[in-house]
């Protein structure tokens, strides 16, 4: 069955989680269908790797099932909690990517003979952005990703990151400055030309 139970449409996430903790497996599908698309989208846009993003999504949901018996209603939103877990999982993976890649290697091999037109393919441009994102300090990268890739409002990002709204704005501004600096050397490759 892939149809959502219409009777559960108005039931808040935390009530469903409490029901799951009390042994009701049927609500797990509703929670999965509400939460996993958002987490998958955020992880895919941040990491640029579908398989890694699926792992992050599955891991984050697993931790939600595990925390269910200890969940206390009214303390946090379930979606905020799951985003926070996914954010930390993305940070771990991005750190691992940085460690495994030699510092002076390009994220993608740059073919000097390739014309800017070839590099203008959206997939390559997005990959360049994600590679640059991975070079940022962890929290700057996540603030930028949650704001500009996932489109979350600053107050929600503040809850997810345990920051003030001003803190989030500062992280985002610094992160974008750093991205511009990293990407500047590849401007032509990315197809940004003045003509």
């Amino acid at each position: 069955m892939t149809m959502l139970d219409p009777d559960l449409d108005g039931v808040p996430d935390d009530a469903l989680l409490i029901a799951y903790a009390n042994g009701d497996l049927s609500v797990a599908r509703v929670l999965t269908e509400r939460l996993s698309p958002r987490i998958l989208a955020y992880a895919t846009r941040t990491l640029g790797d579908r398989a890694e993003a699926e792992d992050v999504t599955q891991d984050a949901m697993m931790r939600l099932w595990n925390i269910a018996p200890d969940w206390r209603q009214g303390e946090a939103k379930v979606s905020t909690w799951v985003y926070r877990v996914a954010m930390n999982l993305c940070i771990d993976r991005m750190r691992k990517t940085r460690r495994q890649r030699p510092l002076d290697a390009a994220p993608e091999p740059v073919d000097e003979a390739a014309s800017p037109v070839e590099m203008m393919q959206s997939g390559a441009r997005v990959a360049a952005l994600q590679a640059a994102l991975a070079e940022l300090p962890d929290r700057q990268a996540q603030a930028v990703s949650l704001r500009h890739l996932q489109g979350l409002p600053n107050p929600q990002i503040a809850d997810i990151m345990g920051q003030s709204v001003e803190g989030v704005e500062s992280l985002t501004a610094r992160g974008k400055r750093a991205l511009k600096a990293i990407l500047s050397g590849r401007k032509d490759e990315l197809g940004f030309e003045d003509d």
Binding site: P37, A41, R45, E54, T57, K176, L179, K180, F192, D194
Partner: protein, 119 residues
């Protein structure tokens, strides 16, 4: 054709990259959903933390006494007590006579043969 040598990445260009990345809307595959739900099943708490069904008072009393092993002992002691009262030993009768002055016989059921209960 002159090319602008200013390599500085502009805010609008960064925003354009963000928009391209955000345009991707991945949909969870059936396989991913199945894995997540399998995890939910494997992690499902086994015992409900609180029972929703009210226990009758005797059920909690029963458990408080110690369940069947205790109840059966209690039953045996009760039967023994009734038996001793109905058919006291000679020594016990002597004590009763000394303390109370005369032997007291209370015939609870004159026509009933208690000894027929022995099994």
């Amino acid at each position: 054709m002159t090319r602008n040598l200013d390599e500085q990445f502009e805010a609008a260009e960064l925003d354009a990259l963000f928009a391209e990345a955000a345009a991707e809307v991945p949909v969870p595959s059936d396989a991913l959903t199945a894995r997540i739900l399998a995890d939910a099943q494997s992690q499902l708490p086994q015992a409900a933390p609180q029972s929703n069904i009210a226990e009758p008072f005797w059920a909690s009393l029963f458990q408080g006494l110690g369940g069947w092993p205790a109840i059966s002992g209690l039953a045996a002691a009760t039967v023994a007590g009734v038996y001793i009262g109905v058919a006291p030993t000679a020594a016990l009768e002597a004590i009763t006579t000394n303390v109370l002055g005369s032997s007291i016989v209370v015939d609870v059921a004159p026509d009933f043969d208690y000894f027929a209960l022995e099994g």
